[in-house]
């Protein structure tokens, strides 16, 4: 079934226009509603962005004097996009605002899936433009003849398809990764680099140059880029071998599609009348009080209600030590909110146990590999620290369910917004949830710091102190992330008003000061001074949170989002 018929739409548009032209009142109304014409500057910004990436590729090639580090940079850059693309695909497939309307049409979910996938793929074509720009810059650097430059088109397409394949694999096999957090970190990294380029720029370039060969082997996004080397005057035909895993990856797209299609459903679920016994799968998806009746007989339910069993609070203490501490730390009002934020109860202790287990196993493997290959050992050790770090970061910055958007009468409203839940109350619960994990995250980062000190030969006390400061910085960042969580469900920055402008300027200023202080805190060698900078960053983060709260409480913006087509 075709979901889009240009001919039909043309006819429809023509007949609507004719009807409007016939009625003066309708003409007036149409003029009134169409008064504000919206022009998007996005394509211009996007083109400028492609230009910047091309410039970066050129600079890397020029500074190192080789193509390989620049090609690896393109691979890393593509890898960085994966997280954002996974988020975008998940949104397109499961949370897009046109899904409720599509699900009402007499069409199969498979057709809806295909339509959504097409939209997603179309949105990613800018990636192709970026790739063409970057490879084009590299071709200019390598002074490749024009007719040979045409070969960068299939290489770019191959790289683009490989990235899409990796996105598909990530959404199918690694849906649990904290993609929003990874995307936020990746988005933040260029700014951090911009500020600290004088300190870390040369080291990064040297590192990239030194490990270009290893990275080319490890990074799947770098495989298709290796084919570019075939365009050089003395090509190494060994590079052609990278075509095999790249094509193999692209072939997984079909399997990914089949797997997504198998479980794809976006429609109202209507179940038959309740049975006498709760089926196992139902009890698995919901948190039922342990004292709740297992047999769903009317009398049993009535008794459960009459004895106030259903009003019993979630037994957090049974989850673990951290959960018990958190529960004890919260006031009675905060516990009510915590129950709303985490209706399935929280799981911190288990996550932390697993993170430390994975860290120790990974480090053991990494250090053992030092006997075999130092380069490989280095990357395995890095991965062993990075993967558990992502898991604990997701746990540390968890927002529960309070900010879950609900689509309602054409707008998205976050779940908490219709209930009597305030900015400060909800923030406090989230702060306590994170800060109870602070000793563990500090320990984790100190261990990572010590391992890095061992690998790079840094002094151990300085590494431990840096781990501690990083934990402090992450705690300060929590305040800012809470603001972002609230802000994501509002129209605070989409209205052209003087107070909106003032708010944006204020937050950009505070954000920049925070970033500056945090970076100074991490990199300034004097311990006392650097701790002072860290404390300053914490104060600025607190100001950031308080200032947003002022605007929020004063009713300065809606706590709902209009979908783009309505704007």
């Amino acid at each position: 079934m075709k979901l889009h018929s240009p001919e039909f739409e043309r006819k429809l548009r023509r007949s609507v226009k004719t009807t409007i032209r016939r009625s003066p009142e309708l003409k007036r109304e149409a003029r009134r509603t169409n008064r504000a014409r919206h022009y998007s500057a996005r394509p211009l910004f996007r083109l400028a962005f492609s230009g910047v990436t091309a410039g970066l590729t050129w600079i890397i090639a020029q500074k190192t004097g080789y193509q390989k580090p620049a090609l690896v940079f393109i691979g890393i850059w593509l890898l960085g996009w994966i997280s954002a693309l996974v988020q975008s695909l998940a949104h397109q497939l499961y949370a897009s605002s046109d899904l409720p309307a599509l699900s009402l049409l007499p069409i199969e979910p498979r057709v809806i899936l295909r339509q959504q996938l097409e939209k997603f793929v179309l949105n990613t074509t800018w990636l192709l433009v970026d790739l063409l720009a970057m490879l084009g810059a590299l071709a200019l650097f390598a002074e490749i003849p024009f007719w040979q430059c045409l070969a960068i088109i299939p290489i770019a397409i191959l790289g683009w398809l490989t990235t899409l394949a990796l996105v598909g694999l990530a959404i199918v096999y690694l849906p649990w990764l904290p993609y929003p957090l990874i995307t936020a970190a990746i988005t933040l990294s260029p700014f951090v680099f911009l500020v600290t380029r004088a300190f870390i720029g040369p080291a990064l370039l040297a590192g990239l140059n030194a490990s270009a060969n290893t990275l080319q082997l490890i990074l799947p996004t770098a495989w298709p880029m290796s084919l570019f080397r075939l365009l050089s005057p003395n090509p190494s035909w060994f590079e052609l071998l990278f075509l095999v895993p790249s094509i193999a990856l692209i072939f997984t797209l079909r399997q990914t599609y089949v797997r997504i299609a198998a479980g794809y459903q976006f429609s109202e679920t209507i179940q038959p009348e309740s049975s006498d016994i709760i089926p196992d799968e139902e009890s698995a998806i919901t948190t039922v009080d342990p004292d709740a009746p297992t047999r769903v007989g009317l009398t049993a339910i009535e008794e459960f209600i009459q004895t106030r069993g259903f009003l019993a609070t979630a037994p957090w203490s049974k989850e673990g030590w951290l959960e018990t501490r958190l529960w004890q730390w919260m006031s009675s009002q905060e516990r009510k909110l915590a129950e709303f934020v985490f209706p399935n109860a929280v799981q911190m202790t288990k996550t932390w146990k697993k993170a430390f287990q994975h860290l120790s196993i990974g480090l053991a493997i990494g250090f053992t590999l030092r006997w075999v290959n130092t380069g490989l050992s280095f990357w395995v050790t890095g991965g062993a620290m990075l993967l558990p770090a992502l898991r604990v970061a997701a746990c540390f910055y968890g927002n529960g369910r309070a900010f879950h958007p609900m689509f309602c009468s054409g707008v998205n409203i976050q779940l908490y917004a219709v209930y009597p839940i305030g900015y400060r109350g909800l923030s406090r619960v989230l702060f306590k949830y994170s800060f109870v994990q602070l000793p563990l995250i500090a320990s984790f980062l100190i261990i990572c710091g010590l391992v890095m000190a061992y690998l790079f030969g840094w002094p151990f006390p300085l590494a431990a102190l840096n781990g501690f400061k990083a934990a402090f910085f992450l705690a300060a960042l929590r305040l800012i992330f809470v603001v972002f969580a609230f802000s994501s469900g509002t129209n605070d920055s989409s209205r052209l008003r003087s107070d909106t402008f003032l708010m944006i300027v204020m937050f950009l200023t505070l954000g920049s000061i925070f970033l500056g202080l945090a970076i100074a805190g991490l990199f300034v060698p004097q311990p006392i001074l650097s701790l002072g900078f860290c404390a300053g960053a914490m104060v600025v983060a607190w100001l950031f949170w308080r200032a947003y709260g002022f605007f929020y409480d004063a009713n300065r913006f809606d706590i709902m989002n209009l979908p783009k087509q309505q704007l």
């Binding site: 109202e268 009003l311 009468s409 706590i559």
Partner: protein, 275 residues
């Protein structure tokens, strides 16, 4: 012999004692008065509310009527604090609304057209969480919940996750939470287009009427004119963000030419003006 509308009108009319009780309670701040002062709200070039000034006294059932896109839902969202007016103020008991006034917010319950519930949690768990948020989980909550679940035919489904219910059943669950919380102000968006069965609609009407009799203010939007005619103490007609009428049906009837179809006539006139 009285016609059905008159019987309904008589049934819902408050006794003199009830009115005195509500007025005295209102004076003592027990019930909530709502006031909108020249509230304007736009979505880019579309003006959803234009200098709306209204006053809702406690103990009334108010029906918001108007064509699609008239501004009914926006008005409800402004009252709920979800939408922020571009200009003008909203007062609850003569106190300006601010989102940090949790004491005020705990006296308002909003039920959108799709209830905001945790879809993977059971009805009972949702009710427990919501009642606790409204501090309505004290003594007697269990009896109230049991009675409501029975009344809305939800008792056998009480331990089922909301996502396994039909739309009407899910709405009933949201409604049960609202009735059990028993706030001073009930805001409902299209409750009669919520997928509820006739029995559920009837139960809702009974509870809303009883709540109004207790001094609660029930404000709901609807497109069903006959429902609004039978089930409202006051009717508020909005068109293009402006209030075209806000009065009791009796008074609107006095002014209308067609005394039996007063709202239909009003809508016809609005449409004629548009065309």
């Amino acid at each position: 012999m009285l016609c059905a509308t008159e019987v309904d009108a008589q049934r819902i009319r408050l006794t003199h004692l009830q009115i005195v009780a509500i007025r005295s309670a209102s004076l003592h701040g027990l019930f909530m008065k709502i006031e909108l002062r020249t509230v304007t709200k736009s979505y880019r070039s579309i003006r959803a509310l234009s200098r709306v000034s209204l006053e809702f006294s406690p103990g009334q059932l108010i029906s918001l009527l108007g064509p699609n896109g008239a501004g009914k839902t926006t008005l409800l969202r402004c009252l709920a604090g979800i939408a922020a007016p571009d200009s003008g103020e909203i007062y609850f008991d003569d106190q300006e609304y601010r989102r940090n006034r949790l004491d005020l917010r705990q006296r308002i319950y909003t039920l959108p057209d799709f209830p905001f519930l945790f879809w993977d949690q059971t009805i009972l768990r949702n009710l427990a969480i919501i009642l606790r948020l409204y501090n309505a989980d004290g003594a007697g909550a269990e009896e109230r919940v049991l009675e409501l679940l029975r009344e809305f035919d939800l008792l056998p489904l009480a331990l089922r996750p909301v996502q396994t219910l039909s739309r009407g059943q899910a709405y009933k669950a949201g409604l049960a939470a609202m009735i059990a919380a028993d706030c001073d102000i009930w805001l409902l968006d299209e409750p009669f287009a919520s997928g509820m069965d006739p029995h559920g609609i009837d139960a809702f009407k009974r509870h809303a009427r009883a709540a109004a009799n207790r001094g609660r203010t029930v404000i709901y939007s609807t497109q069903l004119l006959d429902v609004a005619e039978r089930f409202a103490d006051r009717v508020c007609v909005i068109h293009k963000g402006e209030i075209h009428a806000f009065d009791t049906l009796d008074r609107l009837r006095e002014q209308a030419r067609d005394k039996h179809n007063v709202l239909e006539e009003m809508f016809r006139q609005l449409r004629e003006v548009l065309q």
